[in-house]
């Protein structure tokens, strides 16, 4: 990266599939790009998926090539565990104050894993939504980029820290590391801050906490993923039972003015995709999908038809409005089948809440962004603030790619 960075440089906030795409598109036409992420790794939500649309690839497939392009590109500088504190200035001349949280493991790390072996304290695995425990010194996931361990200092006792430090042959563990604030000068900012799964606990009538048999669709992705807590076997959390029946609860928190008014766009397709995971492992399992409307836009229609034809999969038009935990570890979901006008009480072994996308950017207004009624960031190229991917609207990976390329195109035109 040249010393003239700042003249025409682009800051990309959020390094998921959208941020990676936008950063690469801008850098590969010769711009200087700073790419930051609040996680200790890049790849965002896509990294957590088992397979992703449109071609049902595993995430390695799309992310690895992007990581390689980033490593090969001298124009991109990456920062993990980094967040934006403040933005001042205007298009062509932004001063952005950033803060990097301490990783407690420096760049000497070779990811040998000795620290994890020596670590005695455990934490809930954030990458797997707490479905398993991992050591407090950990690699976020197998294909984490950058490939470097993280130490959760707060979770460790003094002896544990000593042991971790002693185990490292490369002097990579630095328990005294402090958070670091620094300022960048950039011409444009691309906000690709992505989304969080809607907090299922907030949907009171679905009683997420009442039974381990109730999971979210993102948890289902982890259960089905080879690098997940069950090594890819779909088992009921809690008792590891092989489920014989599943219920999918669509619109859990979406299209609901008590939660999120918008349609999250991907949850119907995610459910069809997850039915394909189940079918691979349990060809005979009974599957019940409770929906208001099945939204499978465009070419996804044919993917849907494949599963609507499945005779062990029942589609019930009616939203689940109550879930009761049963003594045998299963749950009963309750809805009205609006096509027969009867109430349905369906007992299942496992229940998947198709929770939607909540925009992850929470302090957008403080940073000078315009936020729409649903919490998404309005793209304002004239102000040098461009949003992309799921920070802009609830979309799939394919559309995220399009909007990120568009965002890069806008960004490179500012401050030349």
């Amino acid at each position: 990266m040249s010393d003239t960075a700042g003249n025409g440089a682009v800051l990309v906030v959020g390094g998921g599939i959208s941020g990676l795409t936008a950063a690469l598109e801008a850098a590969e036409v010769g711009k200087d790009v700073y790419l930051i992420d609040k996680n200790p790794y890049f790849g965002g939500r896509v990294a957590q998926l088992n397979q992703y649309f449109p071609k049902l690839c595993p995430p390695t497939c799309g992310l690895e090539i992007n990581f390689k392009r980033i490593k090969d590109n001298r124009g991109i500088r990456t920062y993990t565990m980094t967040t934006v504190k403040s933005v001042s200035g205007g298009p062509g001349n932004f001063q952005v104050e950033l803060e990097t949280a301490p990783r407690y493991i420096n760049s000497n790390c070779t990811a040998c894993g000795d620290c994890a072996a020596a670590c005695t304290d455990e934490i809930d695995d954030p990458f797997n939504f707490g479905m398993r425990k991992i050591k407090a010194a950990y690699l976020p996931h197998e294909m984490a980029f950058p490939r470097r361990y993280v130490l959760d200092k707060e979770a460790c006792s003094a002896e544990c820290l000593e042991a971790v430090k002693a185990a490292c042959k490369y002097d990579a563990v630095d328990t005294e590391m402090q958070s670091k604030t620094f300022t960048l000068n950039v011409s444009a900012i691309i906000w690709s801050t992505g989304w969080n799964p809607y907090d299922a606990e907030k949907i009171e009538n679905l009683k997420f906490n009442s039974s381990p048999a109730i999971i979210t669709n993102m948890m289902m992705e982890r259960l089905a993923a080879d690098n997940g807590p069950t090594a890819g076997k779909i088992l009921r959390p809690g008792d590891d039972k092989e489920p014989e029946s599943f219920a999918f609860v669509q619109c859990a928190g979406s299209r609901d003015e008590n939660h999120m008014e918008h349609c999250s766009y991907i949850c119907c397709m995610a459910t069809f995709k997850q039915i394909s995971y189940i079918r691979e492992q349990y060809p005979e399992a009974k599957i019940y999908v409770f929906y208001i409307d099945l939204r499978t836009p465009g070419k996804y229609e044919s993917f849907r038809e494949k599963f609507t034809a499945d005779e062990n999969t029942t589609f019930i038009k009616g939203k689940v409005a109550d879930i009761v935990a049963e003594g045998d570890g299963g749950v009963t979901v309750i809805a009205e089948d609006t096509l027969t006008a009867n109430k349905v009480q369906q007992k299942v072994d496992m229940c998947v809440l198709a929770t939607g996308m909540k925009p992850a950017m929470a302090q957008g207004q403080e940073l000078g962004l315009t936020i729409d009624g649903n919490g998404f960031i309005v793209s304002e190229p004239e102000k040098g603030m461009i949003s992309a991917g799921c920070a802009k609207a609830a979309v799939d990976v394919y559309t995220s790619g399009q909007s990120s390329t568009a965002a890069a195109l806008k960004a490179i035109q500012i401050g030349r």
Binding site: N205, C251, R255, D256, E257, N258, H259, I292, D293, G318, K319, V320, A321, D322, I334, A335, E336, T338, A341, N342, K343, Q345
Partner: protein, 400 residues
């Protein structure tokens, strides 16, 4: 199915507080949230789409519309703010207008615009009768303490029927008579529609009146008095605290009225001394006073509750709901105030308040079939119908 939407019906829905109707996207959350909704016949989701389509004939024949206690659980859970609870209230308001006889009077009760007329009818009626009666003088302090308001319409020494009782009977019995006839017509018509809507054809055997009362009406009444269904509500269970004392107050005052009608109108014919205020220590008078207080407390709780719900946006502000609250509050407050003014001996003001009391009582009776008050009859019979349709008269036990 060929749907013929009735735009006037949809318009009436909007005016009666069901303006949120079109928000509904048929997710059926409401049918599960409703604690009164039955597995085989859930509501209010189906009622919402029938209302959206303007299919009023189906709704007028739907007992679920009247079984709804408007507790608000559905509106609270609704993801679209469609307020199914309010829409069902609006459908009930429409049904009372529809079944109401005479239709002019029923229509009058549908809008706050007609309030001057609604108050005017009883006010003028009673005022004119007061003029005719010639009782236009207010008794002095001592006499007031003795006769109270029993000489409101004057007094004669005619033995058989006191003048006051005669006039009150003319006013109130006419009002009650019109209401009773109207309700009889309405309920017969509704019952017929509900039977037709079951789609079972002609009911071959019908219960006798006594069997009907024993098997269907009486169990429903028992359920109503216990308020069991009302208590199922979760969001707005506070309403029970207002509704229960209010209902018990009405039962109490009904007993008092029957007692005093009997003593004054019947026994009074032979023993004129029965006329006049009842002693404060008479258990019936005690019941009357307790009921009066319960009525004011009950309606006060409901008034505050409704205000709170509207402030929180959980219910719409409708004339349909408020008119009944105002009428009952009017009856309670004027009744108790008239009594207190008699006890402290302020005849002039007492007479004015007593006049207002007569006006509000007449309103309550006369408008019963067309206002929210009609629920006491419509819901009772809908609950009876619910039992009827599950009975062997409708369901052949050999076939099921």
């Amino acid at each position: 199915m060929n749907v013929q939407p009735d735009f006037n019906f949809i318009k009436a829905m909007k005016e009666a507080g069901g303006d949120t109707l079109k928000q509904c996207y048929q997710c059926a959350t409401c049918s599960v949230a409703c604690p009164l909704s039955k597995d085989g016949d859930p509501f209010p989701r189906r009622e919402m789409i029938l209302a959206q389509w303007g299919m009023k004939e189906k709704l007028l024949a739907d007992p679920n519309v009247f079984l709804c206690h408007h507790c608000g659980d559905c509106s609270d859970a609704c993801p679209r703010g469609a307020k199914p609870g309010d829409v069902l209230g609006a459908i009930r308001a429409y049904a009372y207008q529809h079944y109401g006889w005479p239709s002019g009077l029923a229509k009058l009760c549908s809008s706050a615009k007609n309030l001057p007329m609604l108050i005017g009818i009883p006010a003028v009626t009673i005022f004119v009768l007061w003029l005719i009666s010639g009782g236009m003088h207010i008794p002095a302090g001592e006499k007031f303490a003795h006769v109270g308001y029993t000489h409101f319409f004057g007094h004669w020494d005619f033995r058989l029927l006191s003048k006051n009782v005669l006039f009150i009977d003319i006013i109130m019995l006419s009002a009650v008579g019109i209401a009773a006839f109207s309700l009889y017509k309405a309920i017969s018509s509704m019952w017929k529609k509900m039977e037709e809507n079951l789609g079972i054809g002609e009911v071959l055997y019908r219960p006798s009146v006594s069997l009907f009362i024993k098997d269907f009406l009486w169990p429903s009444l028992k359920e109503i008095v216990s308020h069991n269904r009302f208590r199922e509500c979760t969001v707005n269970v506070d309403r029970v605290r207002g509704h229960l004392p209010l209902m018990l107050a009405f039962i109490g005052l009904f007993i008092v009225t029957i007692y005093s009608a009997f003593t004054q109108d019947v026994i009074g014919i032979f023993i004129p001394s029965m006329h006049g205020p009842i002693s404060m220590w008479n258990p019936i008078k005690l019941l009357a006073n307790v009921s009066a207080v319960a009525m004011i407390v009950g309606i006060g709780i409901l008034w505050m509750n409704r205000t709170k719900m509207e402030a929180e946006g959980k219910a719409s502000n409708t004339f349909y709901d408020w008119f009944l609250i105002w009428m009952i509050a009017g009856v309670g407050v004027t009744g108790l105030a008239a009594e207190l003014l008699r006890l402290v001996g302020i005849p002039s003001l007492g007479y004015v308040v007593y006049y207002l009391h007569l006006v509000s009582v007449m309103m309550l009776f006369l408008y019963l079939p067309y206002t929210k008050f009609a629920h006491i009859v419509f819901r009772t019979f809908a609950m009876a119908f619910e039992r009827f349709r599950e009975s062997a008269y409708v369901k052949d036990p050999l076939n099921d």
